[in-house]
Symmetry: C2
């Protein structure tokens, strides 16, 4: 028996690299850019950028904020780093200091700011709106651009709203709109429409560059079929205590679970403070491996900041110090997200940032 | 007009300190220990520990994990730091190196480990179970302790399950059980039963030490009446774009929102990557201050990693670069949590850890 206290986060960089290469293969001649915003969805932007730059020959990275570009700049010296939230007063100096950084301009107001503060040798990307109704120039704003304005840009991009639903009418609509606007306003520069999900929608969606994020991190961005990607994230945590629970006893905050018969419970050293969604309370699953067999248990009561309680009545031979498996190849973050009523992107982004994990980088860069 | 890109997190350390003092007043002679686990609920354990140690004269801190104790040890040199998840192989060396650290022992198995690795000059706390059915010795395990075992401990503690519901039967039940077990097994050492919520349940719940966390951070742990604490967390983010939306148009991923009439929308530079719960999609609120007036808007469409879209049809005079208020004194994290279907603890723990915020420490330590 071991006595352990800390949860463990394993990031499989081997699988991440394989996913990148597989996606590059599918995207064929399109440039495979890597999206490492939000600290590479929480998995560590420096690690991911280094891996893809050195072993994946990736030379195009996307971040959300300029300070995120600063964190990886020296790791990817020959690469371009596109900044999706663009340029403004609070990050102008970062762009001025580093000509690797390429702002993505998404509004006339931001473009006016750009023209006032232009940086020699840098040609921004223009983000155009095609149906998501998030960031991007609307058509009436494109009409107002002069030829000189148009000549400012090095690439035109947009973003799909429903790329994870193969037959959604929005995909064809956005593709058509993008094609039209690109030909009308930006016939001479490269174009990028798709993130991970668009890669699986066929060659028409690839254009000159695809922006690989979620699928590279193992998320199934084509949930209409089994995941083609390898799993990247594994989470486990030690069992701190195994106890009997008498019929009628309550479990957890606000006493939301009551035992209808005698049960056996385990207290696992991980909670929402570590990024596990509290919405898994009374519905989530935790797995154990005892006697060489995978066993499933149900989370009971409310998840607390540091601990989760689960019903292990049917788990034979469980001992204090055994590992509880929260996410693994057999129950991925996609599965957890489905049970939690959210998407795995959100969980990944939360889990990865937590310092409480002992971090294992499998075959790290 | 300003062009800005990054969200802003303001932590009001002045109010945090006031809350600590107010809680200490309510707890009267009981020691007011500070709970700074999970990086002080995400707000920064070093900052909070320094503030409370220097300006609040706090000498007792609680963390979850030994590595969290290591982060604050040199900041609170004369204080004791209690480690709630206890001691094990993965953190033994931390305890051996620093005798400020006091393990909280919650199971016979962990106690056996302690006896094998005892650290001279350190007397652990024993955690006993009184109704939460989470960590702690059950009564049959207390019975098995010898007199010498009992003499190992410096304090006995337990934890309330329903302290935020004033009249919940569980409170009286846990108090009675704690009283019984304490008198039976630990008549000669100090006792601690209550976290923030228990402080408001009356003197009987205070014992020798209260463990102040949530309420100190401004969370209403007595939601049966208006919050007595001052607000600590404020979140804002810049508007990146303001656009018309035609009748029939869709907004956001999976096109979950469709405009039933002509609308005006704003795209705000913050998302679930920054810790805003994705469950606020299509239901949450965002506020603006234009013409010196507070104006409310509704989040529409799915929240994405870096952006939130809201309906600002009724917000007059809104411009790109204006600030959107996500949480403030007039709409606290408690309010946001209610709209998101969770508790503010979870949001605070997520928001605070995100590096993407420009962090403003108001009247910082």
């Amino acid at each position: 028996m071991s006595i352990l206290t800390r949860p463990i986060l394993e990031i499989d960089f081997n699988n991440l690299l394989d996913n990148y290469k597989q996606l590059q293969n599918i995207a064929k001649t399109a440039i495979a850019a890597a999206v490492v915003k939000d600290d590479a969805y929480g998995l560590g932007a420096e690690d991911v950028a280094k891996l893809l730059y050195e072993k994946g020959k990736c030379r195009h990275f996307f971040v959300a904020h300029a300070f995120e570009a600063e964190k990886i700049a020296s790791i990817v010296p020959q690469a371009k780093i596109y900044v999706l939230q663009g340029i403004g007063e609070d990050c102008l100096d970062a762009f001025q200091k580093n000509k690797q950084f390429v702002p993505v301009i998404s509004s006339p107001e931001m473009f006016a700011f750009w023209k006032e503060h232009k940086i020699n040798g840098v040609k921004p990307v223009i983000h155009i709106e095609t149906g998501l109704n998030r960031l991007g120039f609307r058509e009436h704003e494109l009409k107002a651009l002069s030829d000189a304005d148009i000549a400012e840009f090095s690439m035109v991009m947009s973003h799909l709203a429903c790329g994870d639903e193969k037959d959604h009418f929005m995909n064809a609509h956005q593709l058509e709109t993008f094609d039209e606007l690109k030909n009308l306003y930006f016939p001479d520069i490269p174009a990028s429409l798709s993130a991970s999900d668009g890669v699986f929608l066929g060659e028409k969606f690839h254009w000159d560059m695809v922006r690989l994020g979620a699928a590279m991190y193992g998320i199934n961005t084509a949930p209409y079929r089994p995941n083609q990607m390898k799993n990247v994230v594994r989470i486990k945590a030690p069992v701190l205590q195994v106890e009997p629970l008498a019929k009628g006893e309550f479990v957890g905050y606000s006493a939301t679970y009551r035992a209808s018969s005698e049960r056996k419970i385990a207290i696992v050293s991980i909670g929402y403070g570590d990024g596990i969604p509290r919405s898994l309370s009374n519905v989530g699953k935790i797995f154990f491996k005892t006697h060489g067999k995978l066993q499933e248990s149900r989370i009971i009561g409310r998840i607390s900041m540091d601990n989760i309680i689960c019903d292990v009545s049917n788990v034979d031979g469980l001992e204090v110090g055994d590992m509880a498996f929260l996410a693994d190849d057999f129950y991925t973050l996609d599965d957890m997200a489905r049970d939690a009523g959210t998407i795995s992107y959100e969980i990944m982004s939360r889990v990865g940032k937590n310092q409480r994990f002992i971090r294992i980088k499998k075959d790290a860069a």
